[in-house]
């Protein structure tokens, strides 16, 4: 195994064939899956699922408005987990490898994405258990999923930003706190003309979700912008 990795890395700068790229990805998938911090994000995901199951377990009569807010809390758990996605204690040793950082970060996200999708589907299902009358009211799954995806993308983009602009190896904790603070500030202020967390059947629902979509695009673009290694080092390096 180590020999193979060294081989791939050694040849990467000069090789341009698709076969080599595929082999590189296959090897990196294994290493990135081992380097990913699985434990904390899994704990967060589990807590999110437990939250989503609370109406089912304790109060089946809770209406969709409350269930929506519970799902938002679950989505925030996911965002907290996503903030830790780019944590890499070995960052300074992998900084010198010829594999570009966007590829490594994309692999990490790609590895987690199917798990995250399954997790979110489970959360949606759990949140809809309980009273049949309440279930009949229905919940706009697409819109809620958009909110969750945006929150997670924001967390990843912020982490990528921290990685890009500082020498921090583990941006997760700080970014997690920042995402929480951001959400609390937006919820507390509900700034006129920029409401994001609108209740169900609110007339501003459509507009708010257009804002969510814009935010998602901004987050993805922000991540794309922050992923590449800077040509020159920004900020000071930390240890």
């Amino acid at each position: 195994m180590p020999a193979g990795r060294a081989d791939v890395r050694g040849r990467a700068p000069t090789a341009s064939g698709a076969g080599t790229r595929a082999r590189l990805v296959a090897v990196l998938l294994r290493t990135e899956s081992r380097a990913l911090p699985w434990r904390s994000p899994l704990a967060a995901a589990l807590v999110g699922l437990l939250l989503a199951a609370v109406p089912w377990a304790f109060a089946p009569e809770l209406d969709q408005g409350v269930r929506l807010n519970v799902l938002r809390a679950t989505a925030l758990c996911g965002a907290l987990a996503a903030a830790f996605l780019l944590d890499d204690p070995a960052r300074h040793t992998t900084g010198a490898v010829p594999v570009p950082r966007p590829l490594r970060q994309a692999l990490r996200v790609g590895l987690v994405l199917p798990v995250a999708a399954l997790w979110w589907a489970a959360a949606l299902l759990l949140s809809q258990r309980g009273d049949a009358a309440v279930r009949a009211e229905g919940l706009p799954y697409g819109a809620v999923t958009l909110e969750a995806a945006t929150l997670c993308a924001l967390a990843v983009a912020l982490s990528a930003g921290v990685v890009r602009c500082t020498g921090v190896c583990a941006p997760g904790a700080g970014v997690g706190g920042a995402v929480l603070a951001l959400v609390v500030v937006v919820m507390a202020l509900q700034p006129d003309g920029f409401e994001l967390f609108v209740p169900l059947r609110d007339p501003r629902w459509e507009v708010a979700h257009q804002r969510w979509a814009v935010l998602l695009a901004v987050a993805v673009l922000g991540w794309a912008g922050c992923a590449p290694d800077p040509v020159r080092r920004l900020g000071r390096r930390r240890g």
């Binding site: 434990r39 904390s40 994000p41 704990a43 967060a44 807590v47 939250l51 609370v54 409350v66 807010n69 519970v70 809390a73 925030l76 758990c77 907290l80 987990a81 830790f84 583990a170 997760g172 904790a173 997690g176 706190g177 929480l180 603070a181 609390v184 500030v185 507390a188 000071r236 390096r237 930390r238 240890g239």
Partner: protein
């Protein structure tokens, strides 16, 4: 070796003050048996070192970005003028105003103290701490003590906001010390929890996750502020209108005891997990657990049967519990906390009397305060009042003043009519609407009027008040008769007749 300089600084603990005291700590004369183990400092020196570390940590805690943000948010929400009825605060509600901000400061403090507890681990300097003379449990204690200045800051903010409200001339009621203490104690409790979490797990995710859980529990799962809702850190009042203090039923005293016990419990548990397992820590743990359990059980009992009966009586038979005060020809009966507002009410009733003119203005009348203290479901309204005009517990907004002026006008000019539904659809509605707006010196009209009534009313309000007053006094008897048509009303009051004559000429709505 770029990281070396930083590592040294962090290994030192936590800043210059902590290091100095820890380094100068006097070694105990007996000396340890193991020559390689760090010596226990003399108790006095250890105490000094703990306090020095606490001071340094307190300063770092106060500069944490999340704590600064939460403090800023608290100051902004408390001291920036909002749109609420700021001039007429009800003090047994104003004492809870700072609790939301305090909860946010506490949550930020929890993340910050947790991050401080994990700092050595984060920078890989745990091993250096092992050779320092300050024992781990003392460092744990110092981190909890570091939250005291933050709690003090929140206490000062709470007190300042409360005093500002209490010193307003329109303030009524009385705040409770327990409610005022809740904010700072929540900060202390959550910071201690942050330290405990840091001792339980080295995961940096735990504190943000617990923060999220606490926010969800407090704001999503907790409904009415009764029963098990009190297990949450703070319990916001959800009553749509202020209640009399005696009917609040908020076990704030037990809640403060509960929070304090949890703070002590977290501190002792954090000490336990940092290796201090002496008899003192064990007895503090057990004691705090017992107190927290007892206070927790006592605060979640829900309203007593007595309180429920009191609420029912105050809602449906207010005369039995209210005090009355007489100003001129009007008697004001209110729950005793709100009686000081009689002067404000009197200004409005006198204005209505002046507009109506003799002889109706001389009639003695009663104003009775009403409140829905049982939380009747929508659609079931309170039993109608006797012949009196009614006033709510809120004051200071145009709507509440208009409603009161309308209610008093109704009781003054329609004395032989039972105020059944409280709304009329003929000349009486126009008359009452005009009296209410003219007496309260506003340009708004009563909310929820019919379109036609509102049109007539607005036209009336554009005319000089003196002229309208003359016409009202002249035709008062006819205007107060049931079933006067809209055309006739327009004619009597001198406004243009309704466009669709005959459609709504009866008193039926």
């Amino acid at each position: 070796m770029t990281g070396a300089g930083r590592t040294d600084k962090d290994a030192a603990g936590t800043g210059p003050a902590g290091t100095d005291s820890a380094d100068t700590a006097v070694l105990s004369p007996s000396g340890p048996s193991d020559p390689l183990a760090p010596a226990e400092p003399a108790p006095a020196a250890a105490r000094r070192a703990t306090l020095a570390l606490a001071r340094t940590e307190a300063w770092r805690l106060a500069r944490h970005p999340l704590v600064l943000l939460a403090l800023l948010g608290t100051v902004v929400t408390l001291f920036l003028p909002g749109e609420g009825p700021d001039a007429y605060p009800v003090l047994h509600y104003a004492d809870q105003d700072a609790q939301l901000g305090a909860l946010l400061v506490g949550l930020a403090g929890m993340i910050a103290t947790n991050s401080a507890t994990l700092r050595a681990h984060r920078h890989g300097t745990d091993r250096q701490f092992d050779v320092l003379v300050l024992a781990p449990h003392r460092r744990t204690l110092a981190r909890v003590l570091a939250a005291l200045p933050l709690a003090l800051a929140v206490a000062l903010l709470t007190l300042a906001a409360y005093l500002r409200d209490a010193l307003r001339p329109g303030a009524v009621g009385q705040g409770s010390v327990a409610e005022l203490l809740t904010g700072p104690v929540v900060v202390l409790c959550l910071c201690a929890l942050g330290v405990l979490l840091g001792r339980l797990s080295r995961s940096a995710l735990l504190a943000p996750l617990v923060t999220l859980l606490l926010i969800t529990v407090t704001f999503v799962f907790v409904g009415a502020p009764e029963g098990s809702a009190w297990l949450a850190p703070t319990v916001p009042s959800l009553a749509p209108e202020p209640q009399p203090a005696a009917l609040l039923g908020r076990p704030a005293g037990w809640h403060v005891v509960y929070l304090l016990a949890i703070a002590v419990l977290c501190t002792a548990a954090a000490g336990w997990f940092s290796g201090s397992r002496g008899r003192l820590v064990r007895s503090v743990l057990i004691g705090a657990l017992v107190v927290a359990g007892t206070a927790g059980a006592l605060q979640t009992r829900g309203p007593s049967a007595e309180l429920t009966a009191d609420r029912e009586r105050a809602t449906n038979d207010p005369a039995a519990v209210q005090d009355c005060v007489r100003h001129g020809r009007t008697t004001y009966c209110a729950y005793d906390d709100y009686l000081p507002r009689a002067d404000e009410w009197h200004a409005v009733t006198e204005a209505v009397r002046t507009l109506v003119g003799p002889p109706a203005r001389e009639a003695p009348r009663t104003v009775r305060q009403r409140v829905d203290a049982v939380g009747a479901p929508e659609g079931i309204s309170m039993k109608p009042a006797d012949d009196a005009g009614t006033v709510g517990t809120a004051w200071g907004e145009t709507d509440t003043e208009l409603e009161f002026a309308a209610s008093f006008s109704r009781s003054l000019v329609l004395d032989d009519d039972p105020p059944a539904a409280g709304r009329y659809c003929d000349s009486r509605n126009v008359l009452i609407g005009w009296l209410a707006t003219a007496a309260t010196d506003t340009t708004d009209v009563l909310p929820g009027l019919q379109e036609q009534t509102e049109r007539m009313l607005r036209e009336l309000l554009r005319q000089p008040t003196d002229e309208v007053t003359q016409r009202v006094r002249q035709h008062l008897t006819e205007l107060t008769r049931p079933g006067v048509s809209a055309e006739r009303t327009a004619e009597l009051l001198g406004v243009s007749p309704p466009a669709h004559a005959g459609t709504t000429s009866s008193s039926a709505c």
